[in-house]
Symmetry: C2
Subunit: 502 residues, 2 copies
């Protein structure tokens, strides 16, 4: 009896996953293709999908099936994946049940319009254009947070939980503080030393050739060309549409190839994670990516720990130099290596180096938490943002485009998302340390052009686990200890200490 | 009471239109962007959307609301658009109610897979690769046709009705025969006379420049750049996603600019029709395109009756010649005009000229009707196709890629679609004749670069009517008489008689 109910429950969950995947295509298309005038209709489409997902997962038949399965003796001896699927379905069911469907739909309907307003405001560097949309979005997300948290809970935790199940600000805030403190000596030393000019300053990397180089990267690290594609968008991202359909985007800058190159490696890292999920569990939690922190651990691992490492470039630099002789003919490997690993406090998170990146995150987490608790009004965001940047990075943004308008997240209602970037950096470093220990010749392999054994290790230790356990638990199982910042700080010290003398 | 029920019914209809519009994006994306390995998941997504649309339009609440509105005295004096919306909703409800949801879903699920198989088969020119998929699709569509037609009706009519409501093969077949007979003298004269080589034979039209020229065409005839986009796909098409989101595609050939140029005009003509629908009725029948024949009347009108006419080229040829001097420096306007209006029997429908195009259609209608009635087995299609081409056009296709594998339609289950192309040609000529009568200086306007008054006439006479009446009725109201082939045959005689001496 229990097994039958379980199968019926999973049929509903799989069916809902197909509905959800349609929403992913709507979102991807909005970023890459949708004509500007289509934003309002897109909002209606997204609201409809969000409503359907909500309806299916909160329906009384779902509730009854869940209760029946949980009460069934069958579940006690059921395979681990079945138990994990039930637990995860319960978690999502509880969460969604607390939020009225009308609110879910209203948020979804608001996103494309707010996002469109944000893009215009950023272009014009005019916060006033975005402010009413952000105020509406904040009001909606505060309603949502209060509904989920209930009377006893923390509303910000309720929002974080969507992106990183189980994350609590009471743990994340001290963790971020420790990370920032741990990085302080490095940031201080680096700020004192400064950087020479880029060795390719003033030269050109023709976009057509960047496209060829970057277009080959996903397959080079193991992404199936038949099951993926690479496009251009204003804000690079990775979106899974379904099995065999993974999409990443990047953007090109003729004056500097780093953004596109490492952007593609980053997004392809996300896509590899989705590709590595177990297709036998497709549409159920055990066949889904766990969380954004685990996702980010994979993208940052490929972007930074592999892609900005010496072994990678021993193999790839000769080709890159041959493709861009005008820009790189007199740039030796070591000078190139230093240029792609230069560290400097800066305004823009997505262009930040590995060392200062987490400072950008700490700023955002503090600000968005204050917005959600109501301690900070949206109108006061630009000033508060600039204050935080002065304190954290010693810089005052020259305008809001390079200040509080730089990120897309809040226009999409993604409050509680940013912390996962810092967690991902830490998870990634801890996983890479364990992978190196398990694969003693890994650097030699990478230097000879192969990352296959690293990918296989990640697939078995991380990807195949799906959402069967909390993110921190997956990292602990893969590395032998609960996540902490130590591996990341060791990595920063080992890599950047010799470059910047600390 | 009746009005309340009407509003509730329309709320359901509008809601369903949003669901349907999501299916349109899924289809557009499948043609333009989807990685090959994503076909199977796309099938699940399309099946889900088709099932939701079916469920909503056949639900007992829809049925009850329809009955309540139809019985209400309010309807007798309701505005015409309300009466039309109710009648059209009844028609669709009846049609869908006869088809089991499982069958609708199975067809939708089969489409991307069959289409993928068709594309591979066409590339390899190997009908055997497509045959099992086509057999499955035919079996499904025969089931669907029988379910709709019931014991007394013609299954082929049931399928045509999806694309051209009210069309009956008993009327369409004699109409096609008359059209083919009426064209016979022209085809005979043309075949005897033959054509000189193209004046740009062996020269190149760089694709990058074609993109610029073609990219400007939609706006030149009135399509909003903020509400539309142009992409590349294997099979050019137009897809409306929603208000403010119209998408057309084309394909480029460096050796010949005609395909892309007239392809864009054709698809932009479709998009203008969608753009001209009344936004006040969005999501209800009165805000929807009427039928494929009316659609094709618009696309062919812009492609051929405007775009291949002398007035258009008096304005546009100097620019085109300046953009492609290598290819056109010694090609005078009249030689160019003859080249873009050359007529010759050929294998490929989408490349066919205005005169022989309808012969291709007549072949397909005969064959697909035989397939649906069971008179022709799928296995025998290649031979039957080639026999028909010998008879109708005096040509034997050299392979199946240039024979029965050339069109995408059957792989999508679109049986009963082809006749609308011929009907559209006829409607288009009849509408253009009426527009010329109403706008005496139209040719001068076009020759001075403006098509605004023509578009305004079409918007008011055709587009704004939405699906408020049958296609033939809309043409009759716009032109003063029921559609027949006479205007089209007059147009052919007037335009091509002097060129080919008949």
């Amino acid at each position: 009896m229990g097994e039958q109910a379980y199968q019926r429950l999973m049929d509903r969950v799989r069916d809902t996953a197909v509905v959800q995947s349609i929403g992913w295509l709507l979102s991807w298309d909005q970023e890459t293709n949708m004509p500007a005038a289509g934003a309002s209709h897109r909002g209606r489409q997204l609201a409809l999908v969000a409503g359907l997902v909500h309806e299916r997962l909160t329906a009384s038949v779902t509730k009854d099936l869940l209760a029946e399965v949980e009460a069934a003796p069958w579940l006690q001896d059921a395979p681990p994946h079945a138990r994990a699927n039930v637990a995860e379905t319960r978690r999502v069911h509880e969460r969604l049940t607390r939020v009225p469907r009308t609110l879910v739909e209203e948020v979804a309907r608001t996103v494309p319009v707010a996002q469109h307003a944000w893009a215009s405001a950023r272009r014009a560097s005019d916060f006033a254009l975005f402010r009413p949309h952000l105020e509406k979005m904040v009001a909606l997300k505060r309603d949502e947070a209060r509904a989920i948290a209930g009377s006893g809970g923390d509303p910000y935790d309720a929002l974080m939980d969507e992106f990183e199940p189980g994350a609590r600000i009471a743990e994340v805030a001290p963790f971020l503080d420790a990370l920032v403190d741990g990085l302080a000596p490095a940031v201080l030393a680096i700020s004192k030393q400064g950087n020479p000019p880029l060795p390719w300053e003033g030269r050109r990397f023709p976009v057509e050739r960047q496209r060829v180089v970057c277009g080959a990267l996903p397959a080079a690290i193991g992404l199936s060309p038949q099951g993926s594609r690479l496009d251009v968008s204003a804000h690079p991202f990775c979106q899974r549409i379904g099995v065999g359909d993974l999409r990443i985007t990047t953007r090109y800058d003729e004056a500097d190839p780093r953004g596109a190159y490492f952007g593609v490696l980053h997004e392809a890292g996300h896509a590899l994670y989705e590709q590595g999920l177990d297709p036998a569990h497709d549409g159920t939690p055990c066949g889904e990516a766990r969380s954004l922190a685990v996702h980010e651990s994979q993208s940052r691992l490929w972007e930074n720990l592999v892609g900005r490492g010496r072994p990678w470039w021993r193999h790839h630099y000769p080709t890159l130099r041959a493709v861009f002789p005008e820009a790189l003919h007199d740039v030796e490997l070591e000078a190139f290596y230093r240029a792609i690993n230069r560290v400097a406090p800066s305004f823009i998170r997505v262009e930040a180096d590995e060392v200062t990146y987490n400072l950008h995150i700490a700023v955002r987490v503090r600000l968005e938490r204050a917005i959600i608790t109501g301690a900070l009004a949206v109108a006061d965001l630009p000033g508060a943002w600039n204050d935080e940047y002065r304190r954290a990075l010693g810089l005052t943004p020259p305008d809001d485009a390079r200040g509080c308008l730089q990120d897309v997240h809040w226009s999409c209602g993604a409050f509680g998302y940013f912390a996962t970037y810092a967690l991902g950096n830490v998870y990634g470093a801890q996983l890479m340390e364990a992978a190196r220990a398990a694969l003693p010749s890994l650097d030699d392999e990478i230097a000879s052009g192969s990352t296959a054994s690293l990918l296989a290790w990640l697939v078995s230790k991380v990807h195949r686990r799906g959402a069967s356990a909390r993110g921190a638990r997956i990292v602990e199982d893969a590395t032998g200890y609960a996540p902490d910042a130590a591996a990341f700080l060791r990595y920063i010290k080992q890599k950047y200490g010799p470059l910047y003398g600390f």
